[in-house]
Assembly symmetry: C3
Homo-oligomer: 97 residues x 3
């Protein structure tokens, strides 16, 4: 549903008009695992259109995962919640699935 | 719960002090169907107080619904997620149920 | 998870760099009850670090509770949703669990 919504956003506003970051926190980081990942093609397609994927380091540690377990296009941030607060302060809109 | 919270917001801040838009996305659009709709009276009461109801066209299409299925007071937006991003950029606060 | 995320936020950004308010609404107010409360120690530890805990009066009333049922560090606001809207308007970031 999230990935579907992002594609709608890109299609509706246009790739040059919007910048999208997916921030995975808590159990959400599992959606960015290398395998099994039923959404891999959809994620790659979004990444090819400039969507950035971030995963929370604290959540990974809590779940016994590390960045080697994630899809190649995913970047790590130290704390998902800090990233969320900082970006909103910078003027990013927030859409919680 | 959403409708209840909106009434609380209107009662607490006053009708002249706040503008409320309900944006229905995904399965949420079903809450705005003409029938069956157990919330119809509550929705009409909020609409009478100036609350605007928007439904996502993409979600409707995905669910095999169209605007004829919705309550009369509901307006359609092309993509719920774009509307959400645009309004936050314009300074609207975001309350996710 | 919420309390865990807040501790991560404080640890990551530093106590002097961020101000955190937990706003409990609807069923969420039950997390701030005096007893039973499995999170009491965690809540107190956050309160000691300056985190503020607010509970919605409307929600308490709806659930047949009052402020005497809540942990001592909790303050009451008339309507959680108004508080949320007002604070976003003042520039606070919003993180919905």
């Amino acid at each position: 549903m999230v990935f579907h919504n992002i594609q709608n956003l890109l299609d509706d506003l246009g790739l040059d008009e919007v910048e999208v970051v997916v921030l995975a926190n808590g159990e959400g980081v599992k959606a960015l695992l290398q395998k099994p990942n039923v959404h891999q093609r959809q994620i790659q397609r979004l990444a090819d259109q400039g969507v950035k994927f971030l995963a929370c380091q604290n959540s990974l540690r809590f779940l016994g995962l590390d960045d080697g377990d994630l899809l190649e296009s995913v970047e790590i941030v130290p704390a998902g919640v800090s990233e969320l607060v900082k970006r909103q302060t910078e003027g990013w809109a927030y859409v919680r699935p």
